[in-house]
Symmetry: D2
Subunit: 343 residues, 4 copies
């Protein structure tokens, strides 16, 4: 059996552990693996590498993906690209495809399976932890630990200078990273997309903290938190105010508001791509390995049109459906727990 393997969308720590596990399980069953380069683009253009146990040696703790990734979607040019995908899949002599990716990558897998009974197994991947298929997705734990290490560093310099430090994390659609890392770092306020931003409450909280004698604070903000809406307009720089340039990005905007409304020195850090790179944590390596082994099992048993889920600590098979690759918001119980640290 020849199992193709591709990684699509934004990369995250743990992808190589998935690859390694698939290759080892398939090899142990007497099959072989073909690595498809750069996500779906590799099937459109037939860019592949052989994947053997020897070639995947030592990658369990390596960041990124040795297969490369892309956001290429063959359904943008279905007539040419979907046809190429099918033709190259045939030409490569593949019997199955394990596709590791987020909603976009798995959305393609879903359509291919629906349209052509394409023999695909999906492995959900989202560093933001925002896929319905998983309570916790690999890469998330690594990202959170990177944020917490940065937050711990910002704390000490913030306290030395009595500054508010604003740390902007990944999370365009959801607040998992911001909330989870904020709770771990003992953040003094956290802003996430799932909770309407109440700037007045934030400023009150920071003021109470100062009254209690703590002149530094740490605010964690998810990239996707939005200031629009019911916020007190007095807090916020209007877009066209003369001589009042509106800062770019949510982190800088929140810092602007704190500095100008609370009159306290404030600094911002946008961690960006650092959150998705480098050595994965132990938990991410283990979860990714378990998913890789399970995906190989499904492929070997020809359970196609399926997806792996990770819920309640268990990895299970589920149908590859739009629901299962749908979005997942922050569990607000976590936000409430984190908010217990707010003054």
């Amino acid at each position: 059996m020849n199992v193709g393997l591709l990684t699509g969308g934004g990369d995250c720590p743990g992808l190589n552990a998935v690859i390694r596990a698939v290759v080892r399980r398939v090899a142990a069953a007497g099959g072989r693996c073909t690595g498809i380069l750069e996500g779906w683009r590799g099937l459109i253009r037939e860019m592949t590498v052989p994947l053997t146990v020897a070639e995947t040696h030592g990658i369990v703790g390596l960041g990124g993906t040795i297969l490369g990734s892309s956001r290429t979607n063959p359904y943008k040019n279905p007539e040419t690209d979907v046809a190429s995908v099918r033709a190259h899949f045939e030409a490569l002599g593949l019997d199955a495809l394990v596709a590791v990716g987020g909603d976009d990558t798995l959305g393609v897998a879903l359509r291919l399976h629906k349209d052509f009974r394409f023999p695909v197994v999906g492995v959900p991947k989202t560093i933001d932890n925002d896929l319905d298929a998983a309570d916790f997705s690999f890469g998330f734990d690594t990202a959170v630990n990177i944020v917490v290490e940065a937050a711990d560093r910002l704390r000490t310099t913030g306290e030395s200078h009595r500054r508010v430090m604003v740390l902007e994390t990944m999370g365009r659609r959801c607040g998992w990273i911001a909330c989870y890392a904020g709770m771990a770092a003992g953040a003094d306020y956290i802003l996430v997309p799932e909770v309407p931003v109440d700037l007045g409450r934030m400023l009150d909280s920071l003021a109470r903290r100062r009254q209690a004698g703590r002149h530094s604070a740490l605010v964690v903000v998810a990239e996707g938190a939005r200031l629009e809406g019911p916020a007190d307009p007095a807090c916020y720089p209007p877009r066209d105010a003369p001589g009042m340039p509106r800062p770019e990005g949510i982190g800088a905007s929140v810092a602007w508001i704190i500095e100008n409304r609370a009159r306290v020195e404030t600094r911002t850090l946008v961690l960006g791509h650092m959150q998705r790179g480098g050595i994965p944590t132990a938990a991410d390596r283990v979860l990714a390995t378990r998913l890789g082994l399970a995906a190989a099992d499904l492929a070997l048993r020809r359970r196609f049109g399926t997806l792996l889920t990770h819920r309640g600590g268990q990895i299970a098979e589920a149908p590859l459906t739009a629901e299962n690759i749908g979005p997942r918001s922050l569990d607000l119980a976590y936000y409430d727990a984190a908010a217990a640290s707010f003054a």
Copy 2:
């Protein structure tokens, strides 16, 4: 309401996050907390500190326990010590006690509750992950990451010198740390108490690996793995063999066997107490914080004789019973997954 708080048994990263969370939740509800020093010993001898929000500031990421710990058990001298515990509990004006500890510490809590309706709430703590009450216990994730970092370091020097590196981890009764960290590190063999040790199979596996051209290997061994029993006696140095000193400790014994039977240079590292110290990981801080908040809630609601459990990702209340604080072995599905990396 005056909530007493103690930490007993071996310390682990996350205890301070529990303490901080209890204090914050109790304070938010208008109560106050009293810290009992050094586990049950602090109630026997009335050694306490006040615990306020200000005094627990900045400890969420601090290793150890600011309250100190001990293995003192008042039921060893019940007439004097149990009486002291009850008298001091009264004298301190405590309304509830949150006890954070393993089977010993919680066993005392259980007896006190049975014998005297002592108003206690238990929080399970085990760095070894071997309590029935929790799928994953705080401290475990930190320990595993420490082991994996050590393993990653041992790998590079092992490969430079074509040596087998044997890494002995904590785990007297269970193989959770060894198995989980071994899987994350891509260990070439793992020995745990739950799986009968088959030295012949281990040596065969290492030999296959060498035949495949890999002259270095990493073997992870839980402290509690046992060589006695069905092992091939040819593998093992008999205790009284002349001129053949039996090495101390399981790690050194396994290394002895590999060096002498497989004739390959072998080195051992026993990580010991380093695994239970220092900065907790993000996941341990979050889990500990959630447990602390939930424990405070139980105390505030006077739900005594209870214990928190962490199963399927959920924290829940359960009765404080011998079963719930009973032992928990390694889930062998993890061992099977880890074994997929063995040659």
Copy 3:
């Protein structure tokens, strides 16, 4: 003897190790220490704390400064503030002052010594490594390691996505951090203030790299590198070009140029204040401890109007002069060594 101790200017890892060492040495000689809070502001306003061996326990590895810091300069209002400094110094019964800081903080010390024979000992501090008094200044090693860890993370995601990653480091006046960290990270190009920026050469280098089959690259840029001047105007977005917003910051500008001129996806990370916070490295703790011990010795021996230098690995006494606290540029031999990695 009563030794005052203050930390001024931007904080950096190692300040607490200096404080601890001064306190221990002075205490061992039978003297005592008084901590001045928030730099010179603490002497203007008489904000102090006692500093004992017990109170400085456990801070050798703590980031920031337990004394707080500020950029307050009494010579801005000499009539009131300099007078206050002198009056409070008297009132506190201080015999000596150890001032830890950069050119601003030590400049005040220098003037006070010149004007009033103020009994001061200076300890140079600059995270940017840009003071003449030291080949290597404490805090620098920590900052560099933080940059390198970030760079290692950016590498893996850059390679997965075939992107150029631009990492902007601290260094307003000098390129020490960018160059040293860039060399350690194997950066593919480095931009520093000391070397005129040649954007054409940078783009050629990145192009050669791509021709050699490497589609990702890492560019490290010091905050203070300047694009103005002899740069090819074709590379750079003019400030008023319609529909072409000029990006803010040097990192974003360089990324803009690479993305638009080399037509390759590019991402930027500005590490900012994270570089000056958190746990100091071993080398910074050792250097800071050695400086603290030497500063205490000078104070105890009443060698005032002096400064410690760190040159050729040796710590020595020097007169506190404008030259010794003058600026220090990157040693270009390091840049040449780093450039050996450019394609």
Copy 4:
């Protein structure tokens, strides 16, 4: 020009950075490099790999040595092995050899140069920092940081349990790692080979500490510290005392003494090979890169029979002599500075 390159003796972090730098500099000069595998063994047996810029990509931050290492010494069997070294050097068409190693490896280089004008350039390597040629040798900074991280972890658990923690570091002949790491960790006592061990003084110091209310302590011991000699026999378990097994290793012996003489719970950690593996620190990568570039320059300029030195922060050429590769003891000024933290 064809430059051979080998790494001998115990590996250490930074070797790959040396290799990478040599390869890049030689390639830039139009030459090429040949990697000799496993130290001198690779020349005896003609085991080589080509070393190109592409093949050394991404190794600057990789622990160990991609060339492998060994302690093989051709002068043990000079008639056969030295002859093989010379014959294979010829057969491989090598023009120069860069040998990276400690006193053994460089001792062979020295003899080969003396006996046959062998065209060799030496790069000193010692993780223990015990070679005369270098104030600081690459690998040392990494080892020290690993020790300090372990010490920081031991601290928190030691304090929770009021235990003395004994940490045994590398350093068979010298106390550099123990002293430098001990100072960085704020160790309460440090034992090194260069300072006669005075157990009575150590016990007194720990007792004073307890009297000051600190019930935990950290003792750092170099592997090569010796208890023999003027030590109080009352402190030490005699080798043949009945029922009193003498512990193995210096760390365990010191712990035995503290536990039995001071009557305080004590635990030991022997860090061993973990200290020489894994990702090198920034400073080690930079130093190794500078040495590699300088070694390539010497080879390209045919400056054979030379060695690189690292003194006063400068890298310089020196003759390859027995003196220059002779031993180097701990600078006792460091020990005195570290001792300022002893109670």
